[in-house]
Subunit: 176 residues, 2 copies
């Protein structure tokens, strides 16, 4: 792979993360090309389809999240680790496109990345439960639903913050 090719690929991916993070699936490939400072042809050589481009972006982001989640799993305070990861997934802007992988027909790599992340969350959840910091009747399914639901909210950050607080309270052992 030629050096300029690799550089362009990276710039396209970064631009895609920006565009889809802002506009969701409605973002156009032309806009991605413009922000990457690249022709449309270049975008489509690296990613033969818009779907493929979106997927690559999602995979990159999910992998990143899974890594930090796993790293936090080693931490001492299991409850804090769980809550921090929850917050990060909700607030990290490009996470908002994670749903695209679910709404559209998800392809192989995206599914794999999503599974890895989900397992990391499951691990944090059960550690939190064992530490007595998370209610024991909660399953990964609803935790995941709550995360993705909140991740798609646009609007006042402060309000979202309070909403997350309410949900985390609902996940505490006292709430059950």
């Amino acid at each position: 792979m030629r050096s300029d090719a690799r550089a362009n690929r990276d710039r396209v991916l970064a631009a895609a993360e920006e565009v889809f993070g802002e506009a969701g699936g409605a973002g156009s490939t032309e806009e991605v090309a413009r922000r990457a400072g690249v022709g449309i042809g270049t975008v489509f050589r690296h990613f033969p389809t818009k779907q493929a481009l979106v997927e690559a972006t999602v995979v990159r982001h999910l992998t990143l999240l899974a890594d930090t989640a796993r790293a936090r799993g080693e931490a001492a305070d299991a409850g804090a680790a769980f809550r921090e990861t929850f917050r990060e997934m909700v607030f990290t802007a490009p996470a908002k496109i994670a749903l695209l992988a679910l709404l559209e027909v998800p392809a192989g790599e995206a599914v794999a990345a999503a599974t890895v992340l989900r397992e990391a969350v499951a691990d944090l959840l059960s550690r939190g439960q064992q530490a007595g910091e998370v209610r024991v009747d909660a399953t990964v399914s609803e935790v995941y639903v709550l995360i993705t639901a909140l991740a798609n909210v646009r609007g006042d950050r402060a309000v979202l913050e309070r909403a997350v607080g309410v949900v985390l309270d609902g996940l505490s052992p006292q709430a059950s």
Copy 2:
């Protein structure tokens, strides 16, 4: 207004509720026309713009929700009234398009309808708080955010049900 005109208008509106309820803003006007058993021209005569059609649908639905919410406000058990309304707003399928009114530039009538509903929810909330069934530090803002966030979740009904349960627990007085 001629009788056939009124009948067609109603059928279009019903079809729109279906289509947008399923596909969101991505639903096409042609599909609406087809399901209404009507030509495209007819759709556009009654609603000069797709935006107008979406709005009319949203207004109709918001108004309906506001009515039931207000009716429930009279009920004896303030806590139950609040929770029921919360659930209804999350689960009623076409509610899922309520966000369209927020994402797009919302016009006069839609804003009015949304405001009415929001006030009805605010009323139920404060009654619930006075009855000691809802935590007093919760404001309408985050309650609304939680509702719309959950309303946009697609997928397993049972999981969503449990997620709603967690959130309602988080809104109980014990959780604060």
